[in-house]
């Protein structure tokens, strides 16, 4: 019974994920390229702005940008799209009784797939700057994925559930994510916080994990304390988010 229920949940998430992936690519010519174009365009803009116009010299800045923007895209896309997950699937929620959380899981995994599909591009930049993937990847790639996913899911549970009751949250989230982007060392490095603002790295659930990705891609040593900090955030957000979702999800069918 439990085995079937687990198998069912896995199949449900997989079926929803495959639907999203297939549906997204079936009707666009460039397909996969679109998911790369957005972060690459942003990287190009920030490179010109910071490196050429403000003339701030940051070592290997194109790689710094790419190694920060691609993992950030996963956060930004998942959190932004999670606001609408339940509302966009109103028909399903009103008429079937499958576990609604599967919609969130498949949406966040969908963005993970896009992130992973962009890793070859990051590796291309690494090779350009003479940096090679090392043995740490075997441990840290899965670890950072799990930590980042926990943070994203926790936030997504809270935001998506609240948005069913309070639709304005969608707009607030868009603004919030932009603010969050500038509070996270993505277009700047950790050193540029100049020690005085290090608390920002601790109060920001994704700062540790994003800096982890960047260090990994740049062949630098990873700050394990910051990754641990993100992991703690992930555990807290995921438990709080899931508990909240469990409390309110029975009302979705009549409100979406």
């Amino acid at each position: 019974m439990i085995a079937r229920s687990l198998e069912y949940r896995r199949d449900l998430i997989a079926a929803l994920l495959i639907k999203e992936l297939r549906a997204r690519y079936k009707r666009t010519v460039l397909g996969y390229a679109w998911s790369l174009l957005n972060p690459l365009a942003m990287a190009a803009i920030y490179f010109v702005l910071v490196n050429r116009i403000f003339a701030v010299q940051i070592k290997n800045y194109p790689l710094v940008l790419v190694a920060g923007l691609f993992p950030w895209q996963w956060v930004a896309n998942s959190v932004t799209s999670s606001t609408m997950v339940f509302i966009a699937n109103a028909g399903l929620i009103r008429r079937t009784s499958f576990p609604r959380a599967a919609l969130l899981v498949s949406a966040t995994l969908n963005d993970l797939v896009h992130y992973l599909a962009s890793v070859p591009v990051i590796i291309g930049f690494m090779l350009w700057f003479g940096i090679y993937p090392d043995a740490r990847w075997i441990i840290f790639v899965p670890l950072l994925i799990v930590v980042q996913w926990a943070v994203i899911m926790g936030i997504a549970f809270i935001i998506s559930s609240c948005n069913v009751f309070f639709r304005d949250l969608e707009r607030i989230t868009t603004i919030g994510v932009t603010l969050w982007f500038y509070m996270t060392p993505i277009i700047y490095t950790r050193d540029m916080l100049s020690g005085r603002h290090d608390y920002l790295l601790i109060v920001n659930p994704v700062a540790g994990v994003l800096l982890g990705w960047r260090s990994l891609f740049m062949g630098e040593s990873i700050d394990l304390m910051l990754v641990l900090c993100s992991a703690v955030w992930g555990a807290v957000l995921l438990s709080v988010g899931y508990a909240f979702y469990r409390r309110v999800q029975w009302r979705f069918a009549e409100l979406v």
């Binding site: 079926a15 495959i18 399903l92 009103r94 079937t96 499958f98 309070f166 009302r251 409100l255």
Partner: protein, 272 residues
């Protein structure tokens, strides 16, 4: 066999919150959010009031009434998509809600891909769907269209595909909300045959339909809802007659009521 009923409604009341939180403004939001979550003191629309009825195992049961009488709400409660505001609902066995054909069908996916997606959304594992795919496609009878994207289908064709998946679900209780009116005559016959086959296997069948003839010929018993209350619950043909008598009266269905007082009852669900 004198068994327990498979569906049991005991004084079920269902109230919908009649105003959304987004209408109360910023100040109201902060003060009323906690109560709102507890389904508290906001004005409520009572869609079902003190509804009680039983459905026995293997019965073909119809829920009828005018638009807005509460039929879909009743099925959604049996399917546990929603919870009642007060009262209890007991169901025994695997409930398969067919509140809509082709739930989750995606227009850009092919018929075949949609069969898997729909089957999983309705509660089958991928393995179970795969084992039944040949039979499902055969029942749908869509020929080479099965590998075309769904957006190229006519309404009847997607309904056929949806129903083909649905009849392969192997439920104990099958809920059907106004979906048999689609499809051509031969397909409708195929569906009715399948329903009779289900009936022989002891599957309980609960349907909502505005087609009086269909209710008369396919159902054993029916409940007539009027303005959210049970008007009559009896043999299907008698209930249909009463429904027509009711329709001829000048005033149909009392105006929906809005309840200002917080409801005392606590939602309570049991399942065995």
């Amino acid at each position: 066999m004198s068994e327990l009923p498979v569906v049991q409604f005991r004084s079920v009341t269902k109230a919908y919150a009649s105003r959304a939180l987004s209408h109360v403004g910023a100040k109201g939001l902060i003060t009323s959010f906690p109560t709102y979550l507890r389904q508290g003191r906001s004005a409520k629309f009572v869609a079902l009031r003190d509804v009680s009825f039983d459905i026995a195992r293997g019965e073909r049961f119809a829920v009828i009434g005018v638009n807005g009488a509460g039929k879909s709400t009743t099925l959604a409660l049996i399917a546990r998509v929603m919870r009642p505001t007060s009262g209890t609902i007991e169901t025994r066995g695997h409930v398969c809600p067919l509140l809509e054909l082709g739930a989750g069908f995606h227009p850009d996916l092919s018929g075949r891909e949609n069969v898997t997606l729909n089957g999983v959304l309705l509660g089958m594992t991928k393995r179970e769907v795969r084992a039944k795919t040949a039979s499902i496609l055969d029942f749908a009878g869509l020929g080479t269209f099965i590998d075309e994207p769904l957006r190229t289908y006519s309404a009847g064709m997607s309904a056929r595909l949806g129903f083909a998946v649905a009849v392969h679900l192997d439920p104990d209780i099958l809920l059907v909300d106004e979906i048999l009116a689609v499809g051509d005559a031969s397909f409708q016959k195929k569906c009715l045959d399948r329903i009779n086959e289900f009936h022989k296997r002891g599957v309980t069948f609960v349907m909502v339909s505005h087609d009086s003839n269909m209710v008369r010929t396919t159902c054993d018993r029916a409940v007539l809802l009027n303005g959210g209350s049970v008007h009559m619950c009896d043999r299907a043909d008698r209930v249909v007659d009463e429904y027509h008598r009711l329709l001829e009266q000048p005033r149909v269905a009392p105006a929906p009521t809005v309840e200002q007082k917080p409801s005392e009852g606590k939602a309570c669900l049991t399942q065995s």
